[in-house]
């Protein structure tokens, strides 16, 4: 059963990812991204990280991708990009080299290193998973007790991000109207 779930989710992830890279239209790319995110959420559930799966769907697929689509519509950059050629010479071959190289290195590292990581890493942190508590309880205990400082700092980070965004995207009085002729 787990194999079936894995295969389906993996297919969703890969197809979505390839779609993001390959689709010329940004809106199509965003939708492919949603497919990938759903696949990841399924894989989270298979790994018994149910809370994270829920959060993934709500925050990532529900908020971040929607934000992307908002910006796409706002700026009017929904025209399809010409993907047949690349204006920078050597960029495509270089991208292929980097991609294949990275893949090779990562696979080698994973294949040879996973056992070592597991045997050496066992018993580092005492907060184990397979207890009677539900996943969200364990996660809450970890976040609010062991990593509470990081939690507070990320809340500050969020405030900074909001303030920064408001400041950055303010329209000043001297701003030139967009040339495209749309009514602003």
């Amino acid at each position: 059963m787990e194999l079936f779930v894995f295969v389906c989710a993996a297919v969703m992830v890969i197809v979505g990812a390839v779609g993001v890279v390959v689709r010329g239209n940004p809106v199509h790319a965003a939708l492919s991204l949603v497919l990938t995110l759903f696949g990841i959420a399924v894989l989270f559930v298979a790994q018994h990280a149910e809370f994270l799966a829920a959060v993934q769907v709500i925050v990532y697929a529900g908020a971040i991708v929607v934000l992307f689509l908002f910006v796409v519509m706002l700026l009017g950059v929904d025209r399809a990009e010409d993907l047949r050629t690349d204006s920078l010479t050597g960029q495509r071959p270089l991208a292929v080299v980097v991609g294949l190289g990275l893949l090779g290195v990562l696979v080698a590292a994973i294949v040879s290193g996973t056992d070592a990581v597991i045997t050496r890493g066992a018993g580092i942190n005492g907060a184990t998973i397979d207890t009677a508590d539900a996943n969200i309880v364990q996660l809450a205990r970890s976040v609010f007790a062991d990593y509470v400082v990081a939690f507070e700092v990320t809340s500050v980070l969020l405030v900074v991000a909001v303030v920064g965004t408001v400041l950055l995207s303010r329209r000043r009085a001297t701003d030139v109207r967009p040339v495209s002729g749309r009514p602003s």
């Binding site: 920078l88 960029q91 270089l94 991208a95 080299v97 980097v98 190289g101 990275l102 290195v105 990562l106 080698a108 590292a109 040879s112 290193g113």
Partner: protein, 636 residues
């Protein structure tokens, strides 16, 4: 009293500063009187210090006044310090004394000149520099004065700079001196490099104690002698002195007779222990150069017609005597001649200046004659100077020259012969000069038609202010011999006075043939002087023999022309080659580095394309390589 030594150079310096600020306002003659006051004040202080030193026992006549720490850099510690010891006080005495007299003379001589106050500014500055030279406690302070007098010499020779010959002569003097200065500088580097000190006491003690290797001592001594050749106009580098007569006569008297040109002899005497510690050929080189120069200049003086040029070559010749003495180990005799030479040469120059002034700026002796009736005091004092330089007893010059010839005989018979012939020629050409100027027939109106219609020109005696120094110097030339009479060692005042400085380096001639027979040599010197005088009288007064004045002598053996040919030809080629190396190789290397950096930067800047995706790709590539390396390290 000795602690007031700093006042001695301070007075002329003060004079320079005042003249700089107020000179033109003070004008003629007040600036001259102010300028004369300064060396006079210095002279009084020096006399006081002299008395102070005399009251001390001989071993304690050495006092250093440290003004301030000049160069405290790393291991080089040079103080601005001045030294009062017998040698420096002797020099200071006649520099300030004769300097004051010449200042007084110049008040009258330069009257009416538009740059009157500037002249005295330069003169005071010169006295300051000369005092720093002689009073210096270490080589660097002396060098400061050395360069200072060179600069002042340039300024004063070219004083009437609108005259092209004067400007050229000034440059010539400066450049010739520079060649010598190069030697002094290298010697200083050597001294510091091997001994770590530049002070005379340090260097001389090292030389005494054997800490100075003969090679180094020879190198230092000969390099300093190169500097002395430049400053004291010896044979390789003498050619600037005759041309320096372009300057006003007080300048010729002060700088080119009495003081600056003696700086070379002074320096060699100061480092006498170093000379004694060097190989034996070093003093011999010095003596030979001195002797050859003396003979050379004496032969040239025989054929000169300018009243000052005769005296210029005579100075070169007498300086040659002094170096012969130094090379023969007779330091006291050299200083003795330096002092008496200062007296009578300054007298002769000032006298010639008086003649020039009275003749309406005429300097050619062929247009003078029979001036003794119209300029009696000038004539009388000039004759005293003539007798002194010719070596007629009991005038001062005889005793000093005889002392030198004694030591030279003990050193080398050949040099003695040269010295004797030179003495003969000296008597000859000085007599010739006296006859042509003061006796014989009057030629001053021979070409009066050429000078325009101003009728019969009559020369006149000079004003009193110019005659007073002449009389004083004449008196000194008469009694100056008393400093060191050869008759008994009780009368060797100068010997005893200078003993702390030169005693260990002085050659000892007791027991040699010369010392045993010194009265014979004395008599020989007198006879030679009289022969020379008699010959000149026969040629120029009685007109019994024809004068021998070949062109080669008049042109100074074509030495000047030869030097010009060498410098302009191969010399200029060498200079151009060096300049080429500097421009293309040295500058080229520096500029080449800059060009290399710029071109390599121009190539590498192409990596900054500005495209974010390129940067991302490169980052990705780098990350791949890094991870691969770490993975390989942990896996393999």
């Amino acid at each position: 009293m000795v602690d007031l030594l700093w006042l001695v150079p301070a007075f002329p310096l003060l004079g320079t500063v005042i003249m700089l600020l107020l000179g033109r306002r003070l004008g003629d003659p007040r600036s001259g009187w102010l300028a004369t006051l300064m060396p006079t004040a210095s002279f009084i202080v020096v006399v006081g210090i002299f008395a102070d030193l005399l009251s001390r026992p001989a071993a304690e006549r050495h006092h250093v006044v440290n003004l301030f720490s000049w160069i405290p850099v790393g291991s080089l510690h040079v103080e601005m310090a001045i030294l009062a010891d017998p040698l420096s006080i002797t020099m200071a005495l006649f520099v300030t004394g004769i300097g004051a007299l010449i200042h007084l003379y110049a008040i009258g001589y330069m009257h009416g000149d538009p740059k009157y106050s500037k002249f005295f500014l330069y003169l005071n500055l010169f006295i300051f520099a000369m005092l720093m030279l002689v009073l210096g406690e270490n080589l660097l302070v002396t060098f400061l004065g050395w360069e200072g007098v060179g600069a002042c010499s340039y300024l004063l020779i070219a004083f009437w700079h609108t005259r092209n010959s004067a400007a050229v002569a000034g440059k010539k003097a400066f450049v010739a001196n520079r060649v010598g200065d190069f030697g002094v500088m290298i010697a200083m580097f050597l001294a510091f490099g091997t001994l770590g000190t530049l002070s005379y006491s340090g260097i001389n003690e090292a030389a005494h104690g054997g800490a100075l290797a003969p090679v180094t001592a020879t190198a230092i001594a000969l390099l300093l002698f190169l500097g002395a050749c430049g400053k004291s106009a010896q044979l390789p580098l003498y050619f600037w002195l005759p041309d320096a007569m372009e300057g006003p006569t007080p300048v010729s008297a002060l700088i080119h007779a009495a003081t600056m040109v003696t700086a070379g002899v002074f320096l060699m005497t100061r480092i006498a222990p170093v000379l004694a510690a060097s190989y034996h050929f070093a003093p011999m080189i010095i003596a030979v150069v001195g002797g050859v120069t003396a003979l050379f200049a004496a032969t040239v003086a025989v054929a000169q017609n300018d009243i000052k040029k005769v005296l210029a070559y005579s100075t070169v010749s007498q300086l040659g005597y002094m170096f012969m003495a130094v090379g023969s180990g007779a330091y006291v005799a050299a200083i003795f001649l330096m002092v008496t030479h200062a007296f009578f040469k300054a007298l002769l120059f000032l006298g010639s200046g008086s003649v020039i002034h009275g003749m309406g700026n005429e300097q050619d002796m062929r247009r003078m004659g029979k001036l003794q009736l119209l300029m009696p005091i000038t004539a009388m004092t000039f004759i005293v100077g003539w007798l002194a330089i010719a070596g007629v007893p009991p005038f001062a010059g005889f005793w000093s020259k005889d002392e030198i010839l004694l030591y030279v005989f003990a050193n080398n018979r050949g040099l003695y012969a040269i010295g004797l012939i030179t003495a003969l020629l000296t008597a000859y050409y000085m007599t010739r000069q006296v006859i042509m100027v003061f006796f014989g027939e009057a030629h001053w109106n021979d070409h009066s038609g050429e000078h325009g219609a101003h009728g019969d020109f009559v020369p006149h005696e000079s004003p009193r202010i110019m005659l007073v120094p002449l009389v004083v110097l004449a008196g000194l030339s008469i009694i100056g011999g008393a400093l060191q009479l050869p008759f008994s060692s009780n009368l060797h005042f100068l010997d005893r006075w200078l003993a702390p400085v030169v005693e260990e380096s002085q050659a000892n001639i007791a027991g040699t043939w010369a010392s045993e027979n010194k009265y014979l040599l004395l008599l020989l010197a007198v006879v030679i002087a009289l022969v020379g005088i008699g010959a000149a009288v026969a040629v120029y007064l009685k007109r019994v023999i024809n004068p021998i004045e070949p062109r080669v002598l008049e042109q100074a053996w074509y030495y000047d022309a030869a030097v010009s040919r060498v410098v302009a030809g191969p010399g200029a080629a060498a200079f151009n080659a060096v300049a080429w190396v500097d421009t293309h190789l040295v500058d080229g290397a520096v500029n080449g580095v800059a060009t290399l950096v710029r071109s390599s930067a121009g190539i590498t800047r192409k990596a900054q394309s500005g495209f974010v995706r390129t940067y991302a790709a490169v980052i990705g590539l780098g990350a791949v390589l890094l991870i691969a390396w770490f993975a390989w390290r942990s896996i393999a």
